[in-house]
């Protein structure tokens, strides 16, 4: 029941967002039609961060309260998170090429921070799979989840300051027109709904894995 609501909500929001992005919002003067990639960039970057926030929450609760469900929450959010972080990097690169003429630039602190975040996600999974036993893997991953999340603001600060002498190329020269603001917000909302949908899907699958294990034990 709840899953269906989520599914329809995400679908509707996505369609509305698509309409806003491609029909409603006017083309930006400076950058032309390519600027619409912005409506992909903000949501994916937002999800990369939101996912890791949930990883952090799950990790902390797992270490403190030891319930397996918290580890499942953290692990699931990390899975969804790394997908969106990868997407954020790809979209960012596809933005960089037409706008700045290069596939990658170290000048854009958001891009470099996202890359570092990607590596932190990777470390989260690596530590889990290289641990000697599974419960250890969960604990180690939780440690990475906590340290990584605490580090994110510091990484953002350092990379921004690193390129901070000249302000990074602004997404727009002036402020955000109200139509653009609306489009961004709806896009973010649509992706957030999608995130929760995927998150719960992955969680239920991990619960299934646990059940399979239990059944196998009973079977002998």
């Amino acid at each position: 029941m709840k899953r269906n609501i989520q599914l329809w909500l995400s679908l509707v929001l996505m369609l509305v967002a698509l309409y806003l992005v491609f029909v409603y919002v006017p083309t930006e003067k400076e950058m032309g039609i390519v600027q619409r990639i912005f409506y992909l960039m903000v949501p994916t970057a937002w999800l990369a961060l939101l996912s890791f926030l949930v990883v952090f929450i799950g990790s902390t609760l797992y270490l403190v309260k030891r319930g397996l469900k918290w580890d499942i929450l953290a692990h699931s959010s990390a899975e969804v998170g790394i997908v969106f972080t990868t997407l954020a990097l790809i979209v960012g690169s596809l933005w960089a090429k037409p706008i700045w003429g290069v596939w990658w630039t170290w000048e854009e602190p958001r891009l470099t921070s996202t890359l570092v975040l990607w590596f932190i996600y990777f470390a989260y999974f690596m530590v889990r799979s290289f641990a000697s036993e599974e419960f250890r893997g969960a604990r180690f991953a939780a440690v990475v989840g906590i340290i990584g999340f605490v580090d994110i603001p510091i990484i953002a600060l350092a990379t921004t300051l690193w390129r901070g002498i000249h302000p990074p190329p602004l997404i727009f020269q002036g402020g955000l027109a109200p139509s653009m603001l609306l489009t961004v917000l709806v896009s973010v909302a649509a992706f957030t709904a999608l995130y929760f949908l995927l998150l719960f899907q992955v969680i239920s699958m991990k619960n299934d894995v646990t059940e399979v294990r239990k059944l196998k034990e009973l079977r002998g």
Binding site: L63, V116, F119, I120, F122, A123, M126, V127, F130, A131, S132, R136, R139, F140, A142, V143, V144, I146, I147, G148, V150, D151, I154, I155, L157, A158, T159, L161, W162
Partner: protein, 223 residues
């Protein structure tokens, strides 16, 4: 002050063991010098270029040397089961963390103290300024704060030499950036004011991760 006495005991154990075998200091020191020399060859002979890349070379070298040294910090604990022995003692986990961390800090500082003058000679740069020493000390503190935690973690995994760098490098990106930028300014003789934003980042990193690692360490080494 019981806490500090126990901490010193652990640090002293590491120092003694190191003094007998000289394992860490020699190998990491030679490694450090080698990396510096190789970078020298990699970047050619132009002095102007050297001035530009020197801070980067210095800190990449120290970061890799740091990983080497940290890797070894928990291996004897694991192999000789010292860790179980330590944990049976009536000391809190935090004591182990601080003790090991201070040990690693000491070793790294010694290596850096030797490497820096040699770096100065090879690169013809004024690295023995108070500014650079400050940068080095505080960045190294950051390295060992997270590094000790991660090293204890990595030693319990299947591919420990690979796990530590992959964990370590993304997390210390901010202080590497800070150290390189600050070193670059220091080598150009800029005043402390210019260095201050970077030093603040390094300082904040140190403070935050000393506390967080201190709190989390017990979860890494429990059974």
């Amino acid at each position: 002050m019981n806490f500090w006495r126990k901490v010193i005991a652990i640090t002293w154990k590491d120092v003694l063991s190191e003094m007998r075998t000289r394992e860490i200091i020699f190998s990491v020191l030679i490694f450090t010098l080698l990396v510096i020399v190789i970078f020298n060859f990699a970047f050619g002979a132009s002095q102007q270029l050297m001035v530009l890349v020197a801070p980067g070379i210095l800190w990449v070298t120290f970061a890799f040397a740091g990983v080497l040294s940290l890797n070894r910090s928990f291996i004897p604990e694991k192999e000789e089961s010292c860790l179980e022995g330590l944990m049976v003692c009536p000391i809190s986990r935090e004591v182990i963390y601080v003790g090991k961390m201070l040990g690693s800090l000491l070793f790294m500082l010694i290596i850096e103290a030797i490497a820096l003058p040699i770096f100065a000679v090879l690169f013809n740069l004024p690295v023995l300024s108070l500014q650079l020493v400050t940068i080095t000390v505080f960045t190294t503190i950051g390295f060992v704060a997270v590094g000790t935690l991660f090293s204890a973690l990595a030693v319990n995994t299947k591919a420990r030499e690979m796990v530590l760098p992959i964990l370590f490098f993304p997390i210390v990106v901010p202080i590497i950036i800070g150290a390189v930028e600050a070193s670059s300014l220091a080598l150009s003789g800029k005043p402390w004011g210019d260095l201050s934003p970077w030093l603040q980042i390094i300082g904040a990193f140190d403070a935050i991760f000393l506390v967080v690692s201190f709190l989390i360490f017990t979860f890494v080494i429990e059974e």
